[in-house]
Amino acid sequence: MIKRFTTALALLAFSGMAAAAGPALQGDIQTQPTNWHAIIMFIIFVTMTMGITYWAAGRTKTSADFYTAGGGITGFQNGLAIAGDYMSAATLLGLTAMTFSRGYDAYIYMMAFFAGWPIILFLMAERLRNLGRFTFSDITSYRLDPSVRTMAALSSLVVVVFYLIAQMVGAGQLIKLLFGLEYNIAIFVVGILMMVYVTVGGMVATTWVQIIKACLLLFGGTLTLILGFSQFGFSLTTLLEKVTAVHKLGANIMAPGSLLSDPVTALSLGLGLMFGTAGLPHILMRFFTVGNAKEARKSVLYASGFVGFFFNVIFLMGLVAVLLVGQNPEYFEGGDIKGALIGGGNMVAMHLAHAVGGNMLLGFLAAVAFATILAVVSGLALAGASAIAHDIYARVIRKGECSDKEEIKVSRMATIALGILAIILGIAFEKQNIAFMVGLAFGVAAAANFPVLILSMYWKGLTTRGALWGGYGGVISAVTFVVLSKAVWVDVLHNAAPAFPYTQPALFAMPIAFILAYVFSVTDSSARAAKERDAFEDQYVRAQTGFGASGASH
């Protein structure tokens, strides 16, 4: 039971919006009474972002504007937007819930989420910015055959679609819970708003939605914590004394639990989170929205500052909630504090907001959670649309012979198609156990996108043949491991035991991708391969100096 719980939690915390995917939301979720405070605040958010979208539409003329806001975003703005993209509703709801029930284990997870950022900065940010234009496939196919671009675009789409499904199902269930709206209505609201933001306002609008949402999330979370923590005189010692006295884990609440007791799982999780983040197309895309490598570096500095700060806020929120929510019968089914929380385990942060700030703060935080989903979904849709329109259509099918206007038109159509697909899949998967989808998205990002991307930037010897084997090998092995693992093999396909014993594919799928890419590159003695190796030199100089990199268009 514990194991099952931790596995579910693992995936939960792993995910963008996995709060939705977790067990707490799998059970019977009754629609809550309509929450007017939340709805009004959400309408204010939508009105404001629609205004921005209208303004952004006037600034979205070229494909560079559409995909990357013309490279005109500053490092500080981009840092906030990255934080907004990265801190999802799962961060707020899932990780407070995890702290509430499991204490310190949640904090370990947060470190795994956080530690990828310095690595991205030291090894990738600068080269990404210097080599890429609209998508990370621009970099992998810089000196290789267009078939590598197709491969990278397809694996981006795999990541985007699985992530979108998890987000949409999560959105529907969460909104049902927080706002008291019907599941299907919620799905349509999210799908349609996302299509409007992205098709009308492109990257400019998406960025501002993410920036506003990040500010609201930081503000709402910090305010809730301050109000709650003040009841303990802002003393961590007092707080911990009281928490250990009442929590079922007692003094062990501040010790690592069963979550990562298996070294293989711990290592695989660490790898998957660290390098999965470095392979998520919607995160990578954000590096092209700034003007140069300087701003790209600053983006990471600010983003990691906000993310690290917020994780610490969330951990303390979870501890405060142990006392203010966990000891208050008002928040439990039938008033029994040993029983289940009203609305399920993911409601901890919401109940805490209510406990310290009444209906007003509860409404505010609920609106922020909704805004969060919208911002993440919009970023995903834009990344998916750029893979379809820029990589597959303009570059591969039309071989770069397609006008700017036409490319934007195709990306708008692609966004609408992705929006409709997201709505359909969101409704189709309502009753499914979708916990595995986020694991799959991260697995593919870590095992397919990341290895080929990093090799193409660092290793002269990478050839088209090696990149294709590595990329497709990574996708196939990541998907296979996830399908054979407990999350799909047992929970979805109802087999007795998992065929693959670990929950995290990264430790196994990543080496497969690297080895395939290496072996099929070094044994490639074609003339094309020789030319590709020669072309590395120029790419290398550009990666290092930024000379010739696409700059800000305005």
Binding site: Y104, Y107, I108, M111, A112, F114, A115, W117, P118, I119, L121, F122, L123, E126, L236, T237, L240, E241, T244, A251, N252, M254, A255, P256, G257, L260, S261, D262, P263, A266, L267, G270, M274, A293, K294, R297, K298, V300, L301, S304, G305, G308, F311, N312, E537, D538, V541, R542, Q544, T545, G546, F547, G548
Partner: protein
């Protein structure tokens, strides 16, 4: 983009200096982060009890929590140090290299 100018950038001894300095700086910092991070995960896997102990007799602060909080701060300071040096010293060097390569054209 012309290969000639890349060739010229490449030949400048300052280019090697840039690549060498920045590369080894980035590698060192990455190694520090990775070693601390995976070292910490090994402690989580093999010494969970130790991490749960208080840092001093009677204190409420557990060793693991204290280490990890310090890691958050330390990793962020490393990003700050890297950004400072890369945006200052290394970017100045890059600008010089590009300027010198363009001068040759004239």
């Amino acid at each position: 983009m012309s290969s000639v100018i890349y060739e010229r950038l490449r030949r400048n001894p300052k280019f090697d200096e840039l690549v060498q300095k920045r590369g080894s700086f980035a590698r060192t910092l990455s190694a520090i982060v990775l070693i601390i991070f995976y070292g910490f995960f090994l402690l989580v896997a093999f010494e969970p009890k130790m991490l749960g102990q208080p840092i001093a007799e009677g204190s409420m602060w557990a060793i693991g929590y204290t280490i990890e909080m310090a890691m958050f701060v330390f990793f962020w300071i490393l990003t700050f140090i890297y950004v400072r040096r890369a945006n200052g010293e290394f970017d100045d060097l890059t600008a010089e290299i590009i300027k010198e390569a363009q001068k040759e054209t004239k």
